[in-house]
């Protein structure tokens, strides 16, 4: 345990985090510039969690996501161009432009969808795990959700269910301290998410969610446990979102010193420092970052020029039986 990880694998985590950061930096800016519509929830500051967890999953493993879902999808391997097209509502988007930022998903990669209803994705993850077990498959299901979701009934019902039926789910609580504009601690009783999971017989641990190596190592342990013994586990990752709850929220209800404190533990900068202490050239690292920014720029250019969905698609994929009139 806690052997020094291979530099190459940390470099790969670094690349993924740079891609997520570049993607959401553009997404937020584009929303504020009026180029995107609706709710855009940036993942900036939390990249280490999706990255560290998904690095331990196979393509066949499932994840379910929530409203802050871009990072999970990218970390699970979704194509940034198809994701960006979705945000722009265009043909070629991962959901054909019908879902937008809040509903990104790529089923071919086991991404069961980002959800606009807090905690609903967690019950879906539990159902997915139920199916996995029924079919005798080896897949693991990861449910990503925020600390705010811990207070909703479906979340607690899902924990109970997963434990009762011995399902292969890893619950990943991304604790960024806030539920929209409310400090989650001010509306949550008891000693926290881990204790709630423990009450349902689900073991877990708290991890520094801004340390991608720590997240990845913890996820590796829990994913192995889930996969080998078909029982749920809980990972509580502490972190912070740099931006407001959504792109149009300036986040003014937070103490600027608190924001600064957390920006000082930027998961990307920390990983860069680790890598350079292992002998990776700084210039090489900034080239990696530039490459991520360029990749996103290409995705944006493709998205901006992609056609709008054909009008006939309004009526497709509703249901097979009956006309949508």
């Amino acid at each position: 345990m806690n052997e020094i990880p291979p530099t190459e694998s940390v470099l790969s985590l670094y690349r993924t985090m740079c891609l997520i950061r570049a993607f959401d930096t553009h997404a937020g800016d584009a929303r504020r510039a009026g180029k995107l519509r609706g709710s855009v929830h940036e993942y900036i500051g939390q990249e280490a969690i999706a990255t560290g967890v998904c690095a331990n999953l196979d393509r066949a493993d499932y994840i379910s996501s929530y409203h802050r879902g871009h990072g999970h999808c990218l970390a699970k391997g979704a194509d940034p161009e198809a994701m960006m097209k979705e945000l722009y509502g265009r043909v070629g988007g991962v959901c054909g432009g019908k879902g937008g930022s809040m509903h990104v998903a790529d089923f071919s990669l086991g991404i069961l969808g980002a959800n606009g209803v807090v905690a609903d994705g967690v019950t879906i993850a539990v159902g997915a795990a139920h199916a996995v077990k029924m079919k005798g498959e080896q897949r693991v299901v990861v449910a990503f959700f925020g600390d705010g979701a811990m207070n909703r009934g479906p979340m607690l019902e899902a924990l109970n269910w997963a434990s009762v039926f011995g399902l292969p789910v890893l619950f990943v609580c991304e604790d960024n301290l806030y539920s929209d504009r409310t400090r989650t601690g001010s509306v949550s009783a008891g000693p926290g998410p881990l204790a709630r999971a423990a009450a349902f017989g689900i073991a877990g641990e708290t991890v520094d969610g801004n340390d991608v190596i720590a997240v990845s190592e913890a996820a590796a342990r829990h994913v192995r446990e889930v996969r080998e013994h078909s029982r749920p586990r809980f990972l509580h990752a502490t972190t912070y979102r740099w931006r407001g709850h959504l792109a149009l929220d300036k986040g003014l209800y937070r103490d600027p010193r608190e924001v600064e404190r957390w920006q000082a533990v930027d998961p990307i900068v920390r990983t860069a420092s680790w890598l350079s202490s292992r002998g990776v050239e700084r210039t090489g690292l900034s080239r990696e970052n530039d490459a991520a920014i360029e990749r996103v720029a290409r995705a944006v250019a493709a998205a901006e020029t992609a056609p709008w969905p054909d009008h006939t698609t309004l009526y497709t994929d509703v249901q097979d039986v009956g006309a949508p009139s």
């Binding site: 609706g38 937008g100 309004l314």
Partner: protein
């Protein structure tokens, strides 16, 4: 003032007037709700009367019912109608029925605020117009104001009402400004407003579609068709008298709503009018509403779901032939 400010004013006035009125829901304090419709109230009335809750719609709603049964008048904030569905059990199985089931021993005087409608690419889980769902449930009053003055007068009425009221503002109306008489008395629930007089066709509508229908009525006027536009304001009870009187004169009925047309409240109005006034109608009543598809994200697709003034004009003209 804006539609959001009008509601804020009404709520503050009612809280001032009656110490048993209080509010519970998510994110009310820090920035005053999703549209600033609670702005400053927590500072003014304190955290025991403007209560920031966890994200837990079932309990927000159930607690509201319990508190209403025990002598308070809660205003329950559910943010969007989409999350009203998360609390549907408590609304349908508890709030709506408790008085009846318990033989009239208690009442549940509460207001359930859950805004409806499209706004700005919010997509399938944040754009729904579910007013017909609640109209179907015995025990509930359903209100859908179309302008700031009504939002002020109707919210006051809803808070004073002894029945549970589902109060549905429209997201796209929050920023619309209009004259509001702050001293206005509470509106009468169940009373429609004739937004424009006319003689050739009666257009019945509510919420954000009132503006669309008025625009259409103006265009129709220029083409020699005089349309009467009725803003229902309350969907249950709805003002049959005003609607039937108008339809009896114009002999043509068109209902317009943003909600999905299939199974929508327009169907109920058309059915009632047909039963009551069949022999007075010169043409079949018509409905306009969204196609039965989840609301899509991409702008051109969302626009296809919107009933626009041109659709209203086209339909009304076809009814004149």
């Amino acid at each position: 003032m804006t539609y959001a400010q009008a509601a804020l004013t009404a709520l503050a006035q009612e809280m001032e007037r009656d110490g048993s009125v209080w509010v519970l829901g998510e994110d009310l304090g820090p920035e005053g709700g999703v549209a600033g419709q609670y702005l400053g109230l927590q500072q003014r009335f304190g955290k025991t009367r403007i209560v920031d809750t966890p994200i837990c719609e079932n309990t927000i709603m159930g607690a509201g019912v319990g508190a209403a049964l025990c002598g308070t008048r809660p205003v329950i904030e559910l943010r969007y109608a989409d999350f009203g569905i998360c609390a549907a059990d408590e609304i349908v199985n508890q709030a709506a029925k408790v008085r009846y089931m318990l033989g009239g021993q208690v009442r549940a005087p509460l207001v359930i605020r859950q805004p409806i409608g499209f706004r700005d690419g919010m997509a399938a889980q944040h754009s729904q117009s579910t007013e017909a769902w609640w109209v179907h449930v015995p025990g509930l009053v359903v209100v859908a104001p179309s302008n700031p003055a009504d939002n002020h007068a109707l919210l006051k009425a809803a808070i004073r009402c002894d029945d549970p009221v589902v109060y549905m503002e429209h997201k796209e109306l929050w920023t619309v400004a209009g004259e509001v008489d702050e001293a206005a008395q509470p509106a009468a629930l169940g009373q429609a407003n004739v937004a424009k007089r006319g003689s050739d066709v009666t257009i019945v509508t509510w919420s954000s579609m009132v503006g669309v229908c008025l625009e259409a009525a103006q265009a129709l006027e220029a083409r020699g068709c005089s349309a009467e536009v009725i803003d229902l304001r309350t969907l249950w009870p709805w003002d049959r008298e005003t609607v039937f009187e108008s339809v009896a004169r114009s002999r043509r009925l068109l209902v317009v709503h943003q909600a999905v047309k299939v199974g929508g409240f327009g169907g109920e109005i058309v059915a009632e009018a047909s039963e009551q006034l069949f022999d007075r109608l010169v043409t079949a009543p018509r409905r306009l509403g969204a196609p039965r598809v989840p609301v899509p994200y991409a702008e051109p697709l969302e626009t296809m779901c919107r009933v626009g003034a041109a659709d209203v004009v086209r339909t009304a003209e076809a009814m004149m032939l």
